[in-house]
Structures are given as structure tokens and as C-alpha cells.
């Protein structure tokens, strides 16, 4: 048989060889040629876990911590693993009810299946977590994940600092830097310096087994990238001054803006009513946000310092005086007589008193309406220009150079431009050629269609203090180790010669010494100021004051607006003087004025007025809320 069928060994060997070759070809195809299956392996085994960098901290100009990070804990649940746990004690520890517990687990199951961990409760405070942590091993299926939340040790400047919020889906789709669950600054510095503060996320490659259990780092973390902490910011705010400003502004609606004229750095920016920034953190945020957003009387989320628009009133007379001089229709000796009102044809503008004949310096000190109506008429009827329109446009260019009517280039989101009417506007309103200087005489005393924000007012004070130039007001001094941004170190000049400023400064000095705001004189400090009492058709006048000090070497320029505060000298001027005294002297000697201001309550007038209007459904507050909302939508 051996010899008979001996050749069959070749056939058998051949069959075996064919199988062997077939296998090798198949393996070669699977391992070397076909790429489709390879991705599957890394997809199911490796998870790229994002390592969140701590957000940068924010300090004030003197190195005081304004915003820092604090640990918070997300409690995660894997519903399929929740077995034999003491539900009662768990609910007690977390401070929730049993129905909350059941619905929470249901929600997690729907959201991410029963076999994957999903968030059960967000941002639990360290206090609650401390209790829970010890027993967490007994609560099968529950794990924790550390996150950082913002903390505001000084509880000041909510509008400046802003807050952070979870990004929404649309942004995630648009911007690859963000994934769902990430935080993003949505207002204030948090928004405008988002890219500096957020840092760079790291990636940790973890391996997971078939039961979705984490089994450790891939190659001891060789391919991981470390998260880079966000840059720390130093802002220009003097936290102590800011805090003092907020104290002064309690129970008042309005704002304070203080600028260092030598640099354009914003020293304080108070918008009142304000709130404790810690309210917008962690698990309480959603509730508080709704509450603040729907407070239509106080609109605390509305940053009045940058967004509210007020007629500047008599503070505008300083600009008027400067334009008049530059245009050559006014000098320090120009005299007009005031019979107690300005009359021109059918138009008359009242004055507080019959000032008699006065010159420029005195007119500023006493804030004479008649004088400045005459100045305005001189500007409008200037022989230099062939028409009122041309004179108006020239006037308008000067006003614009003070930053009025243009959006400030500030490193905070949502600053508004105010309102400065154009020729087109008057042409439309009155008809082309049908308006003259007298038609728009309200502009002479800062009324009418004119609207400025407190930030623009403060910058105006800084320009006068500097005798004709300013730096762009800004809020951040340095990012990490990098010094100020270049554009904030550039001088901007107004087209008015420096020599014309002295007489205005003299007048403003008189305002405080023996003029309209004599009560706000600070012993030992030469302050220059200008009151403004802006008419308000709905109720009490708005009280305004701009100031800088000291006169010849200004280190601080301030604007104060107190809504429904009445006379400029009544609330705005004393508050401005206290801010200046605080900043320059560090201590307040005029305790009586301080006490009066601290105790003062003007918000009641606003509240009364709003309540009356509520029935009429005026648009103002709604507009404000809408502005905030619109703004938020833009960012989120």
C-alpha cells in the first residue's frame, strides 16, 4: 500500500500548504492592507479624556485677588450599578428628596444609558462633598468628578468681572476649542479675555476594558498632553476704591466711573444696583440668574456704567466752552448778560437765577444756561461757515472727538455709543433747511437728543484734566507677564489747543470752591468739577457730576450719575468728591458727608416711577432687559 499510494503524500501536503498560504494572505490583508478595522480598536479601547486647566485668576491693580478658583464636585451616577444603597442617608447627605433621587437616576438613564456614567448633580460644594466623600464607597454606582468653579473673595465688581457659563451646542459646533460641558466667559472680563483666561486643555489617554471600566494610562502617559493654566490677569481696578464706590452706591441707581487720566486705566466702575458675584456660581446660578434677569425695576444685570445713556446736562457746558474758544467765537473775556433765562424768538431756556453779566469762568462755576445758549448760538452762527448745517457738522466733529456718540474701544463687552444726533437726523425731523441753531438750542445745555454713558463722561473729565488728550479707557493692566496692550498706551488728542483748557479748568475749580458744588469741597485737594442736572420727563432729574483732581496734576477723573437724584450737587458731586478723597488720601475726613451718602436712598424714586410706569408698560426697562438678553444671545 505504501508504494501504491505513496504519491498521495504530495496531495495531502499540497492541501495543507494551500490552507497555510490562504491564512497568511488573509492575515496580511487584515493587518497590513485593510485599514477600516484598525480605527475600531482604538475607538473602543482608548478614551481621550480632557484635562481641564484651571481658569486664570484676576487680581486688582494692587495685587488683591478678585477672582479665583475653588473646587466643586460633580456627582456622577451609573444607573446599572446602583444597588443596595441607603437611599435615605444618600439623599440627606446631598440635601435632596427621594423623588429628586428617583427622577435624577431616570434622567441619567435617558441621557446616557444605564451603563454609562452621567452627571447626577452638578457642582456640589466642598462642604457637602466632605460629608459625602467618606461614604461614597458605600453608594455603589456613584462617583465624583472634580471641577473648578469661580470664587470672588472680595465680592466686588460683578459687572466688570462678569461670569462664566456652560457653552451651548451651537458654539460647540462652531468652535473646536469648546466641547459640551465646557465653561466660557459670557460677560465682563471673563468674556473679553476668554482666550487668555481659559488656558489650554490637556488630553489624557485612558484605556477602558470591555465592561467600560477604566484600566489606566496608555503607555504611562507618554502621549498625554498637560493642561496649561489660563493666564492670570491684573486689572486696573483698585478693589478698595471699587468696594467703597459700591458702598456709596447702595440704595441708589446709577454708576461711578473713575479713570486714571495719565494712563486711561479704569480705577473703579460701579453700576448700581449690583449683586454679589458669588451668586452666579455653582448650583445656585440658574436660580439667581433668573431672579436678577427678571428684576425689571432695578435691572441689576444691566451695566449702567457702559450701557446706560443719560443726557449729560450741564456737564456738557465744559465741551461747549472748549469748542467756542477753538472756533474763535469765545474767549475768557466774552461776556453775556443773564436775565434769568435765554430768549430768542419764541424759544426760551430758563436759568436757575438771574446771574447778571458774567464771563466764561464764572459762567462755568455757576452753570449759567443763558451764557451757554449764547455760546452755542455763536458757534452755530459762526461766519466761518456758510450755513447752520456746516457749523453743526463742525461742532459735531468736535463733540465726537471727545468720544461721545462713538462706541468706546474698551476691553469690556457691550459698551454702548450713546447718542449724538446727525444733520441727517434733523433734516428728517425738521425738514432740510428748516432748522437753525435756535431749533436745537437744548444741545447747548446737554439736553435734547444728546445721550452719554458714564464711561464717556469720565473720559471727558480725563480729557479736560489732561488739557486735551486721553488714553483709551481700559480695564486690564497685564495678561500674565505681558504688560499692557499697545493700543492702550497711545495718546489720543482732541482737536482743541491745550491753552483753551485752563480757563475751563479754572471754572471747574470754582464750581467746587464757590460754585454749584461748593458743599463737596475736599480740604487739601484742589478738585475741579462740573455738576449736571439732567431733565427727566418721567420724574425726578438725574444727578450728574464730573470731576478730576488735582487741578494741575490730575491723578483721577470721575463721573457719577445718580438716577432720579435731583440736583447734580445733591448726590453726584458729594459721591464723586468722596471717591477722589478716598483715592488720593486713603482716608475720609468728611465723615458727615460720607454718612449722608452711605445712608441716602434715591432708588425709591426710581422704584416709585417704575411702578407708576408699569401700568403704562413703558419700553425703557424692557429695552434694557432686551439689550442684556440680546447681548447674552450674541455670546452664548
Amino acid at each position: 500500500m505504501n508504494s501504491l499510494f505513496g504519491d498521495r503524500k504530495y496531495i495531502i501536503g499540497g492541501i495543507f500548504l494551500i490552507a497555510c498560504i490562504a491564512f497568511i494572505v488573509r492575515i496580511f490583508y487584515m493587518q497590513v492592507i485593510d485599514e477600516t478595522l484598525k480605527l475600531d480598536a482604538s475607538n473602543e479601547t482608548f478614551r481621550h479624556i480632557t484635562q481641564y486647566p484651571p481658569r486664570g485668576c484676576i487680581y486688582d491693580r494692587k495685587g488683591r485677588l478678585l477672582v479665583t478658583n475653588e473646587a466643586a464636585y460633580d456627582i456622577l451616577v451609573t444607573p446599572s450599578l446602583v444597588k443596595d444603597i441607603d437611599t435615605n442617608s444618600f439623599c440627606t447627605d446631598l440635601g435632596i428628596s427621594k423623588p429628586d433621587f428617583i427622577s435624577g437616576i431616570k434622567k441619567a438613564t435617558i441621557q446616557n444609558t444605564a451603563y454609562h456614567a452621567s452627571v447626577f448633580m452638578k457642582e456640589v460644594t466642598p462642604e457637602i462633598y466632605a460629608v459625602l466623600q467618606e461614604k461614597l464607597y458605600k453608594y455603589h454606582g456613584f462617583t465624583s468628578q472634580i471641577r473648578t468653579v469661580r470664587r470672588y473673595p472680595m465680592k466686588v465688581a460683578p459687572h466688570i468681572l462678569g461670569y462664566i457659563n456652560e457653552v451651548n451646542k451651537e458654539l460647540c459646533a462652531r468652535n473646536p476649542n469648546y466641547k459640551e460641558g465646557d465653561y466660557i466667559g459670557v460677560s465682563g472680563i471673563e468674556e473679553s479675555y476668554e482666550s487668555d483666561l481659559r488656558g489650554t486643555k490637556g488630553v489624557k489617554i485612558m484605556m477602558f476594558d470591555a465592561m467600560n471600566k477604566e484600566v489606566g494610562d496608555y503607555k504611562e502617559g507618554k502621549y498625554d498632553t498637560l493642561p496649561l493654566t489660563g493666564a492670570n490677569l491684573t486689572c486696573t481696578i483698585d478693589a478698595e476704591l471699587q468696594e467703597y464706590g459700591e458702598q456709596l452706591m447702595q440704595n441708589k441707581a446709577g454708576s461711578i466711573v473713575a479713570i486714571d487720566p495719565e494712563t486711561g486705566e479704569i480705577l473703579a466702575l460701579v453700576s448700581s444696583p449690583f449683586y454679589d458675584p458669588n451668586m452666579m456660581v455653582g448650583s445656585v446660578r440658574a436660580k439667581n440668574y433668573g431672579k436678577l434677569l427678571h428684576d425689571s425695576i432695578n435691572v441689576p444685570l444691566f451695566n449702567r456704567a457702559l450701557m446706560a445713556m443719560y443726557p449729560p446736562g450741564s456737564t456738557f457746558k465744559t465741551i461747549e466752552a472748549l469748542i467756542g474758544q477753538q472756533e474763535g467765537v469765545l474767549n475768557e473775556n466774552t461776556a453775556f448778560s443773564c436775565p434769568g433765562a435765554f430768549h430768542l424768538g419764541k424759544i426760551s431756556v430758563g436759568c436757575d437765577a438771574a446771574h447778571g453779566t458774567l464771563q466764561l469762568e464764572k459762567a462755568i462755576a455757576l452753570s449759567c444756561n443763558t451764557y451757554f445758549c449764547n455760546v452755542f448760538m455763536s458757534i452755530m452762527n459762526n461766519k466761518k461757515y456758510s450755513s447752520t448745517e456746516e457749523a453743526f457738522n463742525s461742532w459735531r466733529r468736535y463733540v465726537t472727538s471727545f468720544g461721545i456718540g462713538i462706541r468706546p474701544d474698551i476691553d469690556l463687552p457691550s459698551a454702548l455709543r450713546g447718542s449724538l444726533p446727525t444733520q441727517k437726523y434733523y433734516d428728517k425731523y425738521h425738514g432740510r433747511g428748516h432748522w437753525k441753531g435756535a431749533t436745537i438750542i437744548s444741545l447747548a445745555i446737554g439736553q435734547g437728543e444728546l445721550g452719554v454713558t458714564p464711561l464717556q463722561l469720565a473720559n471727558q473729565a480725563a480729557i479736560i484734566g489732561n488739557r486735551g488728550y486721553y488714553f483709551l479707557p481700559h480695564i486690564v493692566k497685564s495678561i500674565g507677564d505681558k504688560p499692557t496692550i499697545k493700543k492702550y498706551a497711545t495718546k489720543h488728542f482732541v482737536p482743541i489747543d491745550a491753552k483753551y483748557f485752563d480757563i475751563v479748568a479754572d471754572g471747574m475749580c470754582d464750581v467746587v470752591n464757590d460754585g454749584t458744588a461748593a458743599a463737596s469741597k475736599i480740604p487739601g485737594i484742589i478738585m475741579c468739577g462740573k455738576t449736571g442736572t439732567a431733565q427727566n420727563p418721567n420724574g425726578r432729574n438725574n444727578s450728574l457730576f464730573i470731576a478730576f483732581a488735582s487741578k494741575d496734576h490730575p491723578r483721577i477723573a470721575v463721573s457719577v450719575v445718580i438716577e432720579r437724584g435731583g440736583w447734580g450737587a445733591e448726590w453726584a458731586a458729594p459721591i464723586a468728591s468722596l471717591m477722589i478723597e478716598k483715592y488720593l488720601n486713603d482716608t475720609i475726613k468728611r465723615k458727615d458727608i460720607e454718612k449722608k451718602m452711605l445712608d441716602g436712598n434715591t432708588i425709591q424714586y426710581l422704584a416709585d416711577e417704575k411702578n407708576n410706569q408699569k401700568k403704562k408698560k413703558t419700553k425703557t426697562t424692557e429695552k434694557k432687559v432686551a439689550t442684556i438678553k440680546k447681548h447674552k444671545h450674541k455670546n452664548e
Binding site: 501504491l4 497555510c20 496580511f28 493587518q31 480598536a41 482604538s42 484600566v215 489606566g216
Partner: protein
């Protein structure tokens, strides 16, 4: 006695033993890697599978040693007795065996499980070799064929009754032995055709298949026969059988066990859900593919180790070397097996005694069928059938069975000079 033993050593085929040792070492390393966790670094941790496998390997070596020092004639003399004992064990296990995963095929002795279907294959091989070598001069070829077929089919039937269809399938290895000893090549060819027809009937259109088959039959009748009535009836009978298979396939398929049906569907990629019935194969393929050309390196695999691949130390052990050593390692293992099998055929062919030769062919064929089915299913070339990869898969029973099988032949081979022609 000692004089004779000394004579044997140079006749031992150290080449085959060398390959055996290499495969066993590769096997252990891969079980170690498949179960490797940093928490259990001890190589001889007997609570771990690699620790246990170490014991199986060492006891396997001891068993091999005793086979080599035993009398070669023992296996020939006691072959029928061993065959009978195995048949008895296969029947007995039905009644006193442990029920593991729905099959009554294991004897439990303490911690150790013995599966007679797996362990006894050497005895079936011995019995068959003995019968065929004794009866070679007998005139009644038909009777020899019937008895030989029965000697294989009877234990197969017993194993199928134990619900161990996979192990029973490995007994088809003996068809190569029978072919080598004179079985008509047509039967071997017919067997392959049958499988091909079965698959085609499941995958393809039955009407088209029938037309093609009828055309082929007609062509065969016209070209290869003398076109007599006798030829026509013969061709017609074969065609009838083929058509019966084509149309009977569905009936047979529907009468398979559900899991067997699923496995065939997975193999044929019909209605496969990769997270259900297709999971095993899909994960194995993913893991093998992830190895690439050079692999991820020893202990660096992820898919098998992290339990994505089920049974990664037993039926799907091949995944681990393919993942960690890549195409290079996976091919090396196949070449090692191929070399061993071809070496065994070479050794079988040099035997003077038909008994040794037949037994040797049996060993080579059994190895071939195990390697082909196991690696084939890992690669998606075969339906999933739960049988071990020789010397590599975890498990004492299979390691001992293959060692026994191999070393009896090596002992017979070492004795080949003693046998007179």
C-alpha cells in the same frame, strides 16, 4: 535494557520536539500576556491562568518523558484496548459527566476536567491504525472500508450526542488518513464539493445553481462518458443527489441548533449584528487588524487583555499574538505549525511499519484540522467552532491530549529501526 534505551536517543526526532517546545513556550507567553495585569506580576501565580497553564505544561513534559521511556510495542499491543476504553468513556460520560455549558462531556477529578472526546482521539487513532495495518492483505475491501469508517463515525456520533459538535468535526481529520491508505480520491473531492455546495446553496440563488449543475452534468455526460444508458443513469444519480442537497440545505439548516445556525450566518455574513451574535468574531477581527505589520509589542496588546475579545485565552488565543506581534508573529506561528505537520508527514512516510505510518498521518491530520479550524475562525475564514489551538490554547486537557498524540508517534518513530520489513 539500558543498552537499548541508549540506542534510541539518536533516533528521536529532536527537530519535531524543538518545534513542540517552541509552540508550547509561545502558548504560555500568550496566555500570560492575555491575562497580564500589572496587579498580578508573579509568573507562577497559580490563581491565574498562566500559573495553571505552567503546571499543565510541566506535567505534559513529564507525560512525554514517560512515553519516550516506555516500550514502543506497548501502543501497538494495547491499541484496541485503549480504543475500547475511550469508547466506553465516551458512553459513560453521558451518564456521570459534569454538565458544563450544556454539554455532558467532562469528567471532573478534583479541580481537573478531563474531556474524553478530546483526550481519547489518540486512542481512536491507534485503533484505526492497528485495524488498517492488520487488514491490509484482506481481500474484502468493502468490509475494510465499512469497519474503518465505523471506527471513526461511531465515536463521532457519541460526541455529537454530548453536544460537542465542534470536537466531533475534528474527527473528520481521519479522512486524510483513509485517503492516504487508499480511499478513493473521489470521496475526498466529494467531501469538499459537498461543503462547497452547502455554502453555495445557503448564499446563492438555488434556481441558478440548479441550472448550472444540470448544465455541468450534461457536459460531463457528453464529454467524459460513452453516452450509454448506464452512464446517463450514473450522472443523473449524482445530479439528483446534488439537487437534493441544494434544495435540502434549508431544511437541514433550519434543524441545526440555534447557536450553530447563528455561527454559520456570522461566517457567511448574513444578517449579522456585530454587537450580538457577531460580537466574538468582529472583536477578534478588530484585535487582529490592530496588530498591524509589527504588532504592539509583548504585553502591549489592548483588545484581548481588556476583555473585548471573549475566550481570549482559549478559542481566541490566536488574537493575542496577532495583536502583539503583528503580521510577523501571526505568520511565524502558522509557519511553525505547517513545519511541524509537514515534518510529521515526512516522519510517517519513513516508517517501515504501516501501523506507525498510519498513526503518524493521523497525528499530522488532527493537528492540521485543529489549526485550520481554530485560526480559520479567528480570521473569519471558518465558522466559529469551539476547539483549541494545539499547545497554545489554555487548558490542561487539550495540552495533554496533543502531547500524548505527538509523543506516542515520536516514540514509534524512534523505534522505527527495530521493526523488520
Amino acid at each position: 535494557m539500558s543498552e537499548r534505551r541508549a540506542n534510541i536517543i539518536p533516533h528521536i526526532d529532536w527537530f519535531a520536539i524543538g518545534i513542540y517546545l517552541m509552540i508550547a513556550l509561545i502558548g504560555w507567553l500568550n496566555i500570560y500576556s492575555a491575562d497580564y495585569k500589572t496587579a498580578h506580576p508573579g509568573i507562577l501565580d497559580f490563581s491565574q491562568r498562566y500559573g495553571k497553564q505552567f503546571i499543565w505544561i510541566i506535567t505534559g513534559f513529564i507525560m512525554a518523558f514517560f512515553i519516550m521511556v516506555s516500550e514502543a510495542s506497548f501502543f501497538s499491543v494495547f491499541s484496541y484496548l485503549l480504543y475500547g476504553t475511550t469508547i466506553f468513556a465516551l458512553i459513560a460520560v453521558r451518564f456521570i459527566g459534569k454538565d458544563i455549558a450544556g454539554s455532558h462531556s467532562w469528567f471532573k477529578i478534583g479541580q481537573i476536567g478531563i474531556q474524553p472526546a478530546e483526550l481519547g482521539i489518540f486512542a481512536i487513532n491507534l485503533g484505526l491504525a492497528k485495524y488498517l495495518s492488520n487488514e491490509k492483505k484482506a481481500a474484502d475491501v468493502k468490509k475494510i472500508r465499512l469497519v474503518a469508517a465505523g471506527m471513526v463515525l461511531f465515536p463521532m456520533l457519541l460526541i455529537v450526542l454530548q453536544n460537542e459538535t465542534g470536537v466531533a468535526i475534528t474527527y473528520t481529520a481521519f479522512i486524510f488518513v483513509l485517503y492516504r491508505e487508499g480511499l478513493s480520491g473521489n470521496i475526498l473531492l466529494g467531501g469538499f464539493m459537498l461543503i462547497a455546495l452547502f455554502i453555495l446553496a445557503l448564499v446563492g440563488n438555488k434556481i441558478v445553481l440548479s441550472i448550472v449543475l444540470t448544465g455541468l452534468a450534461l457536459a460531463a455526460f457528453l464529454i467524459f462518458t460513452r453516452r450509454k444508458i448506464k452512464d446517463l443513469s450514473r450522472v443523473g444519480a449524482i445530479l439528483g443527489l446534488c439537487l437534493a442537497i441544494v434544495f435540502g440545505t434549508n431544511y437541514a439548516f433550519n434543524h441545526l441548533e440555534p447557536h450553530q445556525k447563528k455561527r454559520i450566518q456570522v461566517f457567511l455574513q448574513q444578517n449579522v449584528n456585530n454587537s450580538k451574535e457577531g460580537y466574538n468574531l468582529h472583536q477578534a477581527e478588530i484585535a487582529i487588524a490592530s496588530g498591524g505589520l509589527w504588532g504592539k509589542g509583548f504585553l502591549q496588546g489592548t483588545q484581548a487583555k481588556l476583555n473585548y475579545v471573549p475566550a481570549h485565552a482559549t478559542d481566541f488565543i490566536y488574537v493575542t499574538p496577532a495583536e502583539e506581534w503583528g503580521f510577523i508573529g501571526a505568520t511565524f506561528i502558522i509557519i511553525l505549525y505547517f513545519t511541524l505537520i509537514i515534518r510529521l508527514i515526512f516522519l510517517a512516510e519513513r516508517q517501515r511499519s504501516p501501523f506507525s505510518r498510519i498513526y503518524g498521518y493521523g497525528v499530522a491530520s488532527i493537528f492540521f484540522i485543529h489549526v485550520a479550524i481554530n485560526i480559520g475562525m479567528n480570521l473569519g475564514l471558518m465558522p466559529v467552532i469551539g476547539i483549541p489551538l494545539p499547545f497554545i490554547s489554555y487548558g490542561g486537557s487539550s495540552f495533554w491530549a496533543f502531547t500524548l498524540l505527538l509523543f506516542i508517534f515520536l516514540r514509534l518513530d524512534a523505534d522505527r529501526m527495530q521493526i523488520l520489513r
